[in-house]
Amino acid sequence: MLQSRVTRLGRTALIGIVGALAVSLAGCESERDTGDGDRNETEPFVFGVPTDARTLDPIFTTDGETFRVTRQIYDTLLDHEPGGKEIVGGLAEDWESSDDGLEWTFQLREGVTFHDGEELDGEAVCANFDRWHNFEGAYQDTNFTYYWQNMFGGFAENEEGVDTEEKFRSCTADGLTVTIEVAEPSASYPGAFSMATFAILSPGSLEQIEDDEITSADSAFPDYTQGEGVLAGTGPYQISGWDHGSQEITLERFDDYWGDNAKVKTLIFKTISEETARRQALEAGDIHGYDLAAPGDVEPLKENGFQVPTRDVFNILYLAFQQETTPEFADLEVRQAMAHAVDRQRIVDTILPEGGEVASQFMPPTVDGWSEDVTTYDYDPELAEEMISDAGVDGLTVDFCYVTDTSRPYMPAVRDIFEIISSDLEEVGLSIDPKPMEWDQYIPATNSGQCSLYLLGWTGDFNEGYNFLGTWFDRPSDEWGFENDEIFDLMSEIDRTPDPEERAGKLAEANEVIMDFLPGLPISSSPPAIAFAPDVEPMDVSPLTQEVFADVSFAEE
């Protein structure tokens, strides 16, 4: 009796399981059914990203994942060539600066229409600059306007506690001509005009959001930044929807785009925060591409027919020698010894993705101002050991901080890199005290000079050498703990040189001085890996990770 009941129950369960599987398989099939028409018109292109965007008004953020989305919706005055690092026209066809670098004149394209039907003209551009310049109250917190303050200084009226100097003076419009006046020349121009954060919104959008407020540094973004309906740009895609629960942003092709129309009608950015989950979603066909693939996944993906086009490098990873925390590092011979001790080629060969290379200076070779004549430090452990011994620091114990909970595009597999460097330094006579830290603890520790050795880096915002060197060496700082007026003066001079060619010459000189002084050891430049499904025709991949999604499409069968 019981036996027959068990059998019956088992049968029922089996039928249930089979039924559920059949149902789900049907679901799977229906989702992958591409229909009979052109896939570019019928199927959304789904791109996996590590984090959701924060806001659809890009002036309020510094977040790369937000910019990945907003770059498809809005244009900036200038842009970078697709797949390259050269600055080209965006909304402006031509541009020039006055000899003193204080006046920037842009000639806008004709016939550019915003998503809400308005025409682009100089007034529209100036309305945006004036809006940013006149931000008040909590809008002036660095949490919301970090890039504005870094690139264009303070505001028309700085709030109490905001001491950023005003660099932006005025924006004047005359038909399709826009003139922007700044208070002092800066190496940040014209690069700053290509930054996604300075996207041009339609005058109609600006009118609608005029009264929206941010009341404190921790207050929420205004509603209009969180979905479709208000914001209009001039980009190849317009906002169709943002499902915050599913962390999914959907864009639809804008048919009146001034350039070539987007090839795929619907573009979706879908958040998959876990690195492995992104790869698995691509392999399972749930997404068509994703960025920041783990270096270890690149070869297996390629072997299975997936595409991993190599980007040009545009970043730097370095090992900092903090001279104040460890006075022994003030001795140049010790720094040179450490530079000879580290086998950087091994890091590039065994850890970094394809396209990675050993760095000879604090900027990648793709940036103007890179010098061929810097002093180089080849891997020579015997020489390093001898120098350490000569300097009398044999057996010296030094703190070596490394980050445990995150990686950066310039620094994948941090722990592996840390281990190679540590063992190389121990090999030549130093004693390493490892200091693992979370990112959150790591940044304050490195900023305040608590680490003798640490790994950090930088990905450029645009093709400007000062955007690299100036980030670290424009002033004495606790990050490095050294005083070197020659370097600081050079940096200041470079920042105030408006002519790009002249600036590149000075940057090359600065690179040579810096590599003689050796405040740290540039380790490598490595391209973050981006992957696509086999049936996708990828866009040109960008060293600045500024891919133009209008150029991606499904391959014809």
């Binding site: 789900s24 679901g27 989702e31 510094t62 959150d440 900023n447």
Partner: protein, 334 residues
């Protein structure tokens, strides 16, 4: 009954108060702060300090806690620092995903665990019994993260039978009412969405159900074994009652009490397991959000989410306690 429920709910207040102290001060003990993830890598120490100041993080900690309590009194958890949206809105947007997943996992655990435990006990020493015991041991031992990844590799990647991630295929169109995809699609008659949502629930549901399934199977087995040996079961059988009646009304019903308690307590482990399962399957619920918030030191989000989870945990356990009356007429709520 009403007074009992009210009393239980009022007990929440001191519990939440204690929890808020614990969480608030514990979070502030963690090194670092949100200024390090909110600003880019090149931000200077001064810029980071200025942001701390504007966020009010330089105020004395007691003042910060007082402000937090004041907001809490208005049921306002502040705004998430990482998304810039109100914490409450983030929670209500994400909670249906986690609830749907937890319900799916619990349904799997209950529907498989109770019959399995029951028949294992009835056929003690049989192959079925040994398999159930060994299987439940495995279920507890295998980390949820590993199981989730394995299920995905086999059924999504290799066989391609089931989706590897998300609650619905990206770009799927559906009408949202409650945020529960299965329920909403049934209510609106979008049955293709129902099918797809169920398909997306299978793998994460199975992964998340592993521990509750193991616990429920073992508890049911042990409890049924104990009840089977009771005098009243023998009496019922000797009275000539139908075996079905004895099994359902005398054995199963009495054996359920400890299992129900376990189900209530397992809610906690379901929420903990959801953190990992949701990350693996990009499920977009509260679990993965808490994980990301902790990485970013998003104090308001972590505090708000944990407090709300605590409330849910207590309410679920209250409901479980109330359900005792259905199984044991001797239990009366006073």
């Amino acid at each position: 009954m009403f007074r009992y429920i009210l009393k239980r709910l009022l007990q929440l207040i001191p519990a939440l108060f204690g929890l808020s102290i614990l969480l608030f001060f514990w979070l502030r003990l963690l090194p670092g702060g949100p200024e390090n993830t909110l600003l880019p890598d090149d931000a200077s120490a001064q810029q980071r300090e200025a942001l701390r100041e504007s966020l009010g993080l330089n105020e004395p900690i007691i003042v910060q806690y007082g402000l937090f309590l004041k907001r809490l009194g208005e049921f306002d958890f502040g705004n998430s620092l990482q998304t810039g949206r109100p914490v409450m809105e983030e929670f209500t947007t994400r909670f249906p995903a986690t609830a749907e997943l937890a319900i799916a996992a619990m349904l799997i655990a209950v529907c498989v665990g109770i019959p399995l435990g029951y028949f294992a006990a009835r056929k003690r020493g049989s192959f079925l019994d040994s398999s159930a015991v060994a299987g439940s041991l495995l279920g507890i031992c295998i980390p949820v993260f590993f199981l989730a990844a394995m299920l995905k590799v086999v059924f999504a990647e290799k066989l391609g039978w089931l989706p590897s991630a998300f609650r619905l295929g990206a770009g799927a169109r559906f009408t949202e009412i409650t945020g529960f995809r299965v329920l909403d699609s049934v209510l609106t008659g979008e049955f293709d969405v129902t099918v797809s949502a169920l398909g997306h629930l299978i793998l994460p549901g199975l992964a998340l159900s592993s521990i509750p399934l193991a616990v429920i199977t073992r508890m049911t087995r042990a409890s049924v074994l104990e009840v089977l040996g009771q005098d009243y079961v023998r009496t019922a059988e000797s009275k000539g009652l139908q075996p079905t009646v004895v099994r359902t009304r005398h054995v199963l019903r009495n054996a359920m009490l400890p299992v129900i308690t376990a189900i209530g307590l397992l809610t906690g482990s379901l929420l903990a397991g959801a953190v990992l399962t949701e990350s693996v399957f990009a499920f977009g619920g509260i679990g993965s959000f808490i994980y990301e918030s902790t990485q970013q030191r998003d104090y308001p989000a972590i505090l708000g989410f944990l407090m709300l989870i605590a409330i849910i945990y207590v309410v679920v356990n209250l409901l479980v306690d109330l359900s005792y009356t259905l199984f044991d007429p001797r239990v009366r709520v006073r």
